[in-house]
């Protein structure tokens, strides 16, 4: 048969498509008409797609999803943000010093307000005095910048505005100011260094020093120290020169001299050898000459710098000046000096005065300019700037003092009108060094910390409101950065004994120490938590459940976690680096630590509760063809489970984030064990998955067109669909990523068990689907034909079965067992492995049984047709019937189809079943027809047919049903024999049987025999141990010789020996020669029967002792004399039963006289 040869090719293809299964599976699914897919999905609204998509996206498009989610979150946040603003904007009337939660702000604003007012009252108390001072300052402007920057008039009017002084009062106070004494001004000069001075000494260097004096008072000179042998001296020396009159026309003179100690000419000459070059030589000569001429020593002027005081700005300056000398054009060098004004005022008074002034001016500036909160950055108007600078100059405040004043004033104002944080961070930067290195008086230090205390709330508020969406991201980030800088400076400067975080102002700060709290890190941590907490609470409040169902609850939790994750994402991407850089604070980690606790407390109770109340699905409610009986159509029992799963995934990802973010603390996080909350849910998810899978399988089978998916494969769409479903279950499992090993193990056991259930269900549905197919009925006949659909059904189930084992592998069974090994040791590992393997093999066995069942169904459907043709063939064979041909055609066609469509394993299986069933059928035919006394020809025909079929289809070597078939064939062969042949069959069987004897109660006979041509010679020699036949204990025996089969030797005599009386050891010693025809000689299976009998006295009723057979083929063919041949000894035997096929066949031939007579004789021979 061709089909059989094709097997190998098919096998090759089979292997090929096994390898590519999954990829093809996916491809096919992709290529297949979407309609089917979508129709299957419609069953459950894309249940697995929802689950599956989560996974795929997570796996393949995590990035994209991340973005998408962020966008989503951003939108959500955007929706929330405006509301946020509205809420916040409700309280702008209250001083917006802390715009946080109302209770905190109200409380701290109260206290701060008092503080501020008191401050202001104090200011009002001496406001006139202050104003007078202001006017006085204007009147006595110093520095170069007075005239051209802003006119005095403008300054007066500005001051009047700023101090809100009415005109009359202004004039009055102006008078007071004008009558006041001129201020005692001092000019501070620091001689810093000089460069490139002209060499004055013979050695090419100079020994410079500086003399400084005011042009108005040349007698009052100051000298610096002498720097020897240098042209680039560094002095860094300070001088204070009093300015007596208020004239600005005075000039500061700085003279650089080369120092010449008093030397004698002789001493000078001693230097002769130090002289450098010709020029040096001429200098020295000149010097000597001068010394010699005047007889006195004299310092030599290198150069002069004259600085009109009018060129010095009020705020002071540092400058390089070129040195000049009368009538000289050559470069003399440059000199660097720092010049500033100061006054003889009391520093404390001046500082306080300056603070008040600065405050009033700043308040005025803010009022006029309407600058936005957090914006102002010391950008005073020129008038304000000049007023303040003048005051600083005239009061002689140092830079540090000014910075301290500014810091204090700004911090105070910042409470009401927030100023730029950059301003503060710059001031702190300026103050950092002085505060650390200089000796600052107690009061100033206290001032600083008080100011800091005022500044801190807004700083922490920025940290808390980091999520506020009002301003753009850049601004927030800049603010945060500045705030962090500020905090860092404060941390560096601290600690202090001032309570920076009074608990009435910061109820949310968890300070457990004693005494004043200046733990900025702690406050920062609390601020972060507080901010996150407020934000989270806001989300929760605004996320109120829609309807309060558990699903909406879950959806809210999911949304919340998504928002938190995006917040964390932002923290990681933007803020974390600032926090670490500036304050060495791990912002994201701190945030995560807070969130994880909140998420845990928010989710755990709900999850546990919902899990507990999850509606369990009852798969036993599932009815084929109907689906599940949904008791309550309004509640989708699956939506809850699905949402719960989404939440699980959301938390899972949140936890993964934490694992990366806080590897050290991770193990202490409560949320780490989040999966335990879902414990109960998992079982339900698995149930849902099975439920869905069963539904889909049913639909897939229903929609299966039962055609090959493509030409390379042997199964149809539902197999692929079913596999897709399994793949989706697996996807679900991968996604679940259950962390607990013991749970994993049991869940896997459950999944495998469930998948088995699905397979079985699929097999059943597939079988039901094809059941009615292939029946052909027309006027001539009714028959079953194996169709492609049947084969596809079988292949489909087999295909699904094949995937079971890879499926379990994909579930990660080995990994889990490995973990169990590590966790529990080899004993438990083995038990678990055994369990899983048993479950798997059970599943595979069960599905295989389903396949076998289907194969049997096919065969059972074929059998009636075959049976009918067999009977017809047996009855009509000789009459030129074509029944056998038709039978062969039928079998050929059907097996052909099966062979083409099925894989080798299943084809062999079905062949087995065919032969088994055929054997059964034929046996049944034999039984029935023996009863009906069919002639041997009937069986003979049947036998021929069977041999024919076996020859064609059956390789007898690999046949499990061989024995049964052999039996059937044997029975058929025997029944096909004519009666005489049948009788001979009996004899042959006996001959075989007797040859087996090793002893016998009937005795043993010795003889010789040979063929000589067509003549047979038999010498009966003796017998021994014959059975006792007489009452006397002896026998009277003789031997008769028959040739068998009887009907072939009808003309041949049956000779016998003489009777030997009364002995059990008779010596016969008789030789018989019988002539045969050549045809008789050649008879196959010819037998010589030696029958030993006991002679009856009367000779009528000779008793039978025993008999033995000699086969013709065992008789030597020789010309030798008989006496030369060896004696042959044979045990005598008797038939013992009817239990052979031949005898049974004879028995069944009730109407056959010959058979009847033979059986009668035969019965007599049987051992009594």
């Amino acid at each position: 048969m061709n089909q059989l040869r094709k097997r190998t090719d098919l096998l090759g293809i089979k292997l090929l498509y096994k390898e590519n299964r999954i990829s093809k599976l996916l491809k096919w699914n992709g290529n297949r008409k979407k309609s089917t897919d979508s129709r299957i999905q419609q069953v459950d609204n894309g249940f697995f797609e929802k689950f599956g998509s989560l996974f795929r996206e997570q796996a393949e498009m995590a990035q994209a999803r991340e973005q998408e989610e962020q966008q989503h979150v951003a939108e959500l946040a955007a929706q929330i943000a405006p509301k946020d603003e509205e809420e916040k904007e409700e309280e702008p009337e209250t001083p917006p010093l802390v715009t946080a939660d109302s209770e905190a702000s109200s409380s701290d604003s109260e206290s701060e307000k008092d503080d501020f007012q008191a401050d202001f009252l104090a200011a009002a108390f001496n406001i006139d005095e202050l104003y007078t001072e202001m006017l006085y300052v204007i009147l006595h402007n110093v520095g170069c910048d007075v005239a051209f920057e802003v006119g005095q008039t403008a300054l007066f009017s500005y001051a009047q505005d700023a101090f809100k002084i009415p005109n009359s009062k202004h004039r009055q106070l102006m008078d007071v100011a004008e009558q006041k004494e001129d201020p005692e001004l001092i000019i501070n000069v620091e001689v810093i260094e000089a460069k490139e001075l002209r060499a004055k000494d013979a050695n090419g260097l100079s020994d410079p020093f500086v003399t400084l004096y005011l042009a108005s008072n040349t007698s009052h000179r100051y000298n610096t120290s002498v720097k020897t042998m240098t042209l680039n001296p560094i002095w860094e020396e300070h001088f204070a020169l009093a300015i007596n009159d208020k004239s600005v026309n005075d000039t500061l003179c700085l003279e650089v001299w080369d120092f010449d100690p008093a030397e004698t000419v002789k001493e000078k000459f001693g230097k002769f050898f130090e002289v450098k070059g010709v020029k040096g030589m001429s200098k020295l000569v000149k010097e000597i000459a001068v010394t010699a001429a005047t007889g006195q020593h004299e310092n030599e002027l290198i150069g002069v710098a004259k600085i009109p005081l009018s060129t010095i700005p009020a705020s002071g300056m540092t400058m390089w000046y070129t040195l000049d000398k009368k009538n000289k054009v050559t470069r003399r060098g440059v000199l660097k000096v720092r010049i500033s004004f100061s006054s003889g005022k009391n520093n404390q008074v001046a500082g306080q005065e300056h603070r008040h002034m600065r405050r009033i001016i700043l308040l005025h500036e803010l009022e006029v300019s309407k600058v936005a909160p957090y914006w102002w950055c010391e950008n005073f108007t020129p008038q304000a700037d000049q007023l303040l600078t003048q005051h600083v100059a005239q009061s002689g405040l140092t830079q540090t003092e000014v910075a301290l004043c500014s810091y204090s004033v700004y911090a105070g104002i910042h409470q009401k009108h927030p100023l730029s944080f950059g301003l503060f961070s710059k001031l702190l930067e300026k103050l950092l060094k002085p505060l650390q290195t200089e000796i600052i008086n107690e009061e100033d230090l206290k001032l600083f910390w008080e100011a800091t205390r005022k500044l801190l709330p807004s700083c922490l508020s920025i940290i808390r409101k980091i999520r506020k969406k009002t301003t753009n991201e850049k601004t927030i980030m800049k603010q945060v950065m500045e705030v962090l800088k500020i905090l860092n400076y404060i941390i560096t400067l601290g600690p202090t004994d001032i309570d920076l975080f009074p608990s009435n102002l910061y109820p949310w700060i968890t300070f457990h120490g004693n005494g004043p709290n200046c733990d900025i890190q702690g406050a920062l941590r609390d601020a972060i938590s507080k901010g996150a907490n407020d934000w989270l609470n806001y989300i929760i409040e605004n996320n109120t459940e829609n309807g309060g169902t558990s699903i909406s609850k879950l959806q809210n939790l999911i949304q919340m976690i998504q928002l938190i994750r995006s917040d964390l994402q932002k923290a990681i991407e933007y803020y974390d680096k600032f926090f670490i850089e500036h304050v060495n604070f791990q912002y994201a980690k701190c945030l995560y630590t807070f969130y994880q606790a909140r998420v845990a407390t928010l989710c755990e109770p709900d999850v546990r509760e919902i899990c507990k109340n999850l509606k369990t699905l009852d798969n036993s409610d599932y009815k084929f063809g109907e689906g599940f009986v949904n008791e309550d159509p309004t509640v989708d029992p699956l939506a809850e489970g699905t949402s719960l799963f989404e939440l699980y995934l959301a938390i899972q990802r949140f936890v993964t984030l934490g694992q990366g973010l806080c590897p050290a603390d991770y193990n202490s996080f409560h949320i780490r064990n989040f999966h335990q909350w879902f414990h109960v849910g998992v079982a339900t998810w698995l149930d849902i998955a099975v439920y869905k899978a069963l539904q889909r399988i049913e639909k897939a089978v229903e929609l299966d067109p039962l055609v090959h998916i493509d030409s390379t494969v042997k199964y149809s769409s539902s197999a692929v669909d079913t596999l897709t479903i399994f793949y989706q279950v697996n996807t679900f499992w991968q996604q679940l990523n259950w962390p607990d090993v013991e749970g994993c193990y049991t869940f896997i056991a459950k999944i495998i068990d469930d998948i088995c259930q699905c397979c079985v269900s699929y097999a059943k549905k597939m079988a039901a689907r094809v059941d009615g197919l292939g029946h052909i009925e027309n006027v001539y006949e009714k028959k079953f034909e194996v169709t492609t659909e049947w084969c596809l059904a079988i292949n489909n189930i087999d295909y699904v079965r094949e995937t079971l084992e890879p499926f379990t592998r994909d579930l990660g069974m080995e990994d889990i067992l490995k973990k169990i090994m590590e966790l529990k040791g080899p004993v438990d590992e083995k038990r678990c492995r055994d369990t899983l393997n048993t479950v798997i093999s059970n599943a595979i066995d069960t599905v295989r049984n389903a396949i076998v069942e289907l194969l049997e169904t096919v065969v059972n459907k074929m059998i009636p047709s075959m049976k009918r043709l067999l009977i017809e063939g047996a009855e009509l064979c000789d009459q030129d019937s074509n029944c056998i041909d038709r039978l062969m055609m039928y079998v050929d066609e059907n097996l052909g189809t099966l062979n083409t469509e099925l894989n080798e394993e299943n084809f062999n299986r079905i062949l087995e079943i065919v032969w088994e069933s055929l054997s059964e059928t034929i046996n049944e035919l034999i039984r029935n027809n023996l009863e009906n006394r069919r002639p041997p020809s009937f069986f003979s025909n049947l036998h021929k047919t069977l041999i024919l079929m076996l020859g064609v289809y059956k390789d007898p070597s690999d046949c499990n049903s061989c024995d049964a078939l052999k039996r059937t064939e044997q029975v058929l062969r025997v029944n096909a024999l004519e009666t005489s042949d049948l009788i001979h069959e009996v004899h042959l069987e006996l001959a075989d049987k007797f040859d087996q004897f090793t002893e016998s109660p009937y005795g043993e006979i010795s003889f010789r025999s040979k063929f000589d041509g067509d003549t047979i010679q038999i010498e009966v020699i003796n017998a021994r141990d014959l059975a006792v036949m007489d009452s006397s204990g002896n026998s009277d025996s003789f031997v008769r010789i028959h040739l068998l089969p009887e009907h072939e030797f009808a003309n041949v005599e049956k000779p016998k020996t003489k009777t030997h009386h009364k002995t059990l050891f008779p010596l016969y010693d008789e030789t018989f020669t019988i002539n045969l025809t050549p045809a008789q000689r050649e008879i196959e299976n010819g037998l010589v029967l030696l029958s030993v009998k006991d002679k009856d006295l009367l000779g009528y009723n000779n008793q039978y002792i025993g008999e033995t057979f000699i086969r013709f083929r065992d008789i030597p063919c020789t010309s030798e004399s008989l006496s030369e041949l060896p004696q042959v000894k044979k045990w005598l035997g008797r038939p013992t039963s009817f239990d052979t096929d031949a005898l049974k066949a004879l028995e069944s031939r009730q109407g056959d006289k010959q058979a009847k007579e033979f059986l009668k004789k035969f019965k007599n021979k049987i051992t009594p």
């Binding site: 009852d618 798969n619 149930d687 193990y745 049991t746 529990k824 004993v827």
Partner: protein, 222 residues
Amino acid sequence: MRSTTKNPLLKVVILGDGGVGKSCLMNRFVSNQFDEHSFHTIGVEFLNKDLDIEGQTYTLQIWDTAGQERFKTLRTPFYRGSDICMLTYAIDDKMSFKNLEMWRKEFAYYADLKESNQIPFIVVGNKSDVSSEAREVSQLEMETWCNENSITSCIETSAKSASNVEEAFKMAVQHWLRLESRADINETHVNDTVDLSKKIGDSNRMSCCVGGGAAGDDDTNN
């Protein structure tokens, strides 16, 4: 390849407190082994065993469960679809006996039993090899409890001495068979139900409570 699996399949679940010897019972029954120091079962364990009853071979698929509370969620998914539930306690542990009620309820809940009449429970008191001083639950208590809960099959076994172990499983299957046949009969003969509330010894009662091997009782009234 198909011969062995053609048998009717019965899913058996063994329940009971941790340490009463569920796994030991199963291992004694399936592989005739006993390990005194066996560990806790992880979640579930599964084994197959063929059992001949009146000429018919039944394949028992036995799910042995972990009794500890922490495994509850892991074992309950396996209850559904069971044909037989074996409620197990140890006769030297009163608590485990008292907990039978809890186990019965847990099974009924998670197996989604619909008709209370059809609950295929069998009660097994294990460790019948302990001395009579150690015994905390008498056979009468067991029978009374079963009676109150309409459970008709109970037996005392010892996985250690192998006493009554196979009998317990056989009894379980026979019990199932009766339920099956009764279910069939009920369709035709509605009146042919057995009043389970009648006292022990009532000849009508299809009771098959069997005493522990240590006590050496006759296997009574069935």
